[in-house]
């Protein structure tokens, strides 16, 4: 089964509806698409030094290779007809979209499970780094052990 794979690393925002439509165009075998959108979560108003922005850095080349490899792993594990991963980089403010993971399949379970695998694996495997910008200064976000634990559910190589 061939799986359409689209990977993009860009500063620009993406259009969820356009991406979903594109992944299905001309393919009436798609019965389900699942998508995940990550957003910059702001702090509430009652925080003394709220988040102003996130600056997203990445490792050009390795990022695209890693995301492509993860998409191919997903397509090997589940019967997918399409995978789209778009990750934004640069400066993003609270409320903005950061990442899109989108999967298409004949069957809903495959689309949902592969979408969850991809965002879990992206979080621990793809070379992106977040730096928080607050009025009191900037600091790099530390990796979470919980993300590694969630990733471990899927096995070492996806």
């Amino acid at each position: 089964m061939t799986c359409r794979i689209k990977i993009a690393v860009q500063h620009d925002d993406f259009d969820l509806a356009a991406e979903e439509a594109e992944l299905c165009i001309g393919d009436h075998g798609v019965g389900a698409t699942a998508s995940f959108v990550g957003r910059v979560r702001g702090d509430g108003d009652n925080v003394t030094d709220p988040l102003l922005a996130l600056e997203l850095e990445h490792y050009p080349g390795m990022t695209e290779n890693t995301l492509t490899a993860l998409a191919e792993q997903a397509a090997d594990r589940w019967p997918l007809s399409g995978v789209t991963v778009i990750h934004r980089v640069g400066r993003l403010i609270p409320g903005e979209r950061i990442v899109l993971v989108l999967t298409a399949s004949a069957h809903r379970q495959a689309a949902l499970t592969a979408c969850e695998f991809l965002i879990d694996a992206l979080k621990t495997d793809a070379p992106f780094w977040k730096c928080e910008e607050r009025a009191h200064g900037k600091h790099w976000v530390e990796a979470k052990t919980s993300d590694a634990n969630v990733r471990a559910r899927w096995g070492e190589h996806g």
Partner: protein, 86 residues
Amino acid sequence: MSTLHLRYFARLREQFGLDAEPLGIPAVPYTVADVIELLIARGGVWAEELGGPRVFRVAVDQEMASPETLVHDGAEVAIFPPVTGG
């Protein structure tokens, strides 16, 4: 002598004050662990970031590597903190 192309990202890039540099190594079997030892020997922030308890990752030619991974002449060796994307 062989030459590696080192790259640094995120906090390490800022701590080291550079994002890339060439590094000469002896033309014998040489591992990621050997490269790290060479950098720790510089002392200062190098020893602090790579020789202490702080966790970091290494990729060789854009693939995640372990301390035992061999590096070859012309390899791109990237050192960076655990990733935080998504």
